[in-house]
């Protein structure tokens, strides 16, 4: 799988290159500025872009803007955004086009190489990988609001959280050490409580959850 990587800190870029190569990814380009990223994305047509939010020369959210622009040019281009901090505001912008294939993770998530690579693969396959922090914020907020989520049981909330991060039922079952059937039951309960149609599509599942969490604010 061919990756375009954009990160301005040499150490981190180097580390990411080594990590991705260790898991058999091909680094098509490893760039350090926004304009270079835009060019690389247009010319190299990678399978996934791994992008730092803040890039030179502006040192603002240039990486995010380049990624969003590239996705407008090529809808569904898988983009995994890494950042020193995660904000719902940016998560929403990434998810807004509803095309899937987006991820938004804290940089520290690379500490757990397996999980990080799993997230990269998931995004490249058109799924999503949202940072647990974003999801956590959304869920706390909704619980405080005392809306339908109030009727979701703590266990179902756990499932919902993992689901919103972009995990499949099998992965959730693995993490919570229960059978996949139990998770399937939980998810259908959650969908019922949230009034959502059940769908097998992981990506649509997350979008539906996020859209729900997002509505009537």
């Amino acid at each position: 799988m061919r990756v375009v990587l954009a990160e301005d800190l040499f150490l981190l870029r180097d580390g990411l290159v080594r990590l991705l190569e260790a898991f058999d990814f091909e680094i098509a380009a490893a760039v350090e500025t926004g304009p270079e990223l835009t060019r690389a994305l247009a010319e190299l047509n990678p399978d996934i872009a791994v992008v730092d939010v803040r890039l030179p020369p502006s040192h603002t959210d240039e990486g995010l803007q380049c990624a969003l622009a590239a996705r407008r040019a090529r809808p569904g281009l898988p983009v995994l955004v890494l950042s020193q901090h995660v904000e719902q505001l940016y998560a929403r912008e990434l998810l807004a086009d509803g095309a899937g294939g987006v991820g938004y993770l804290l940089k520290d998530r690379v500490f757990d190489a397996e999980q990080f690579i799993d997230a990269v693969r998931r995004v490249a396959a058109g799924g999503t990988a949202m940072d647990p922090q974003v999801i956590q914020q959304l869920l706390t907020r909704r619980q405080a609001d005392d809306r339908p989520l109030g009727r979701v049981t703590p266990r179902e909330l756990e499932v919902l959280e993992l689901m919103a991060q972009g995990r499949s039922n099998a992965a959730i079952a693995g993490q919570l050490v229960v059978t996949e059937r139990a998770i399937a039951k939980h998810t259908s309960n959650i969908f019922a409580k949230l009034g959502l149609e059940v769908s097998d599509d992981d990506n649509r599942r997350v979008l539906a959850v996020l859209a729900y969490l997002d509505q009537d604010r």
């Binding site: 020193q84 901090h85 904000e87 520290d108 914020q137």
Partner: protein
Amino acid sequence: MNTNGDNNTGGGRVRTAALTGVRALVLAVVVPVGSITLFVLSVVSIAFVPLGIGIVTTPWVLAGVRGFANWRRLVAAQWCGVRIPPAYRPLPKDANPWTRCFGLLGDPATWRDLMWLPVDMIAGFVTALLPAALLTYPFEGFALGAGLWQVFTDGTRVGWWYGFVPISGQLSALAAAALGAALLVTGVYTAPLLLRVHFLLTRSVLASGQGELAERVRVLTETRRDAVDTSAAELRRIERDLHDGAQARLVAMGMDLGTVEALIEKDPAKAKQLLANARKSSAEALTELRDLVRGIHPPVLAERGLGDAVRALALRLPISTEVEVELPGRAGEPVEAAAYFAVSEVLTNAVKHSGADRIWVDIHHSPEPGGMLRIAVTDDGSGGATVGAGSGLSGVERRLGTFDGVLAVSSPAGGPTMVTMEIPCELS
């Protein structure tokens, strides 16, 4: 002074002098008429205030006085480059005559205007007349020398005095012409300076006085002290947080790694556990650093500016918050940061104490002269918020004070609470 490139050449100097003469003449005519009329009207109108009529007429008359003073400010800047900054307090646009009248009378700038009028009608008149006379009077001397003397005398007696020259015939008339020439040369060289003296005199009376400056200095000293105190406290907090948090965790991590080094061959299982520990410590150190950074300069503020930073802040609040932003550009970084932390503090207060279900934040910038950033935070809570000793809001007030910003709180018991903040600033 005239900024034409040629004003040092002979022709340029004469042209400048001619222009100065005309201007001085205009002033010499307008100044006494204007200031006497306006002074009399003002005195009469203010005297009639107790009778009630004055309340209606005073704003009109004072508006006239201001107009007259502002015209002088304008010509002072245009003709001589003397800047006289106006310092009137703003009046509400649709105020009734009563508030207008007393608003105007309560403004020290109004009284400066009124004190200036008598000064202007005498000293102002003289200083305007002098350059005008210096540039016009010589022409009478030339006319006399050219034969006009014959109108006044037949050559046997003194028929006319031109300055100190008694004219009794062609010879003395030529002396008058010579005096006129001398006066004209003096006038050409000194008239622009004299007119400048006139405007400097105007400025000395009209420009805001020492009292106001002293007040301004007092305010600035106070806000500077607050700013220094606040930033020192902030630095102490950051130092403490680093020392107790991230630094300690990194030390623990180093110790774990050291132990791992020693254990890795003897007891791989234990080493593995310590490695996991070290990783956890590093993650926690990062989390703490992240929180610290958010407290110093929030990332979204740095990346996107005030509007999106407040939006991102609102998304993290447990109370649903609507944010409306109308900012055509970005304010300076210090102003943005002050505004952000002020909003953050007000929102935190609202979340903690108001018991509100909803919060509305409205941020906009009005481009009136100098520009003004206005932020309103409204909640539907129980009210009763005050700006007082120890309350978070007085901290916000001090923070804004550094930028000449102000904070107003309307929070009747029972709610709702509305906190309004204004910071003068330009957007880029």
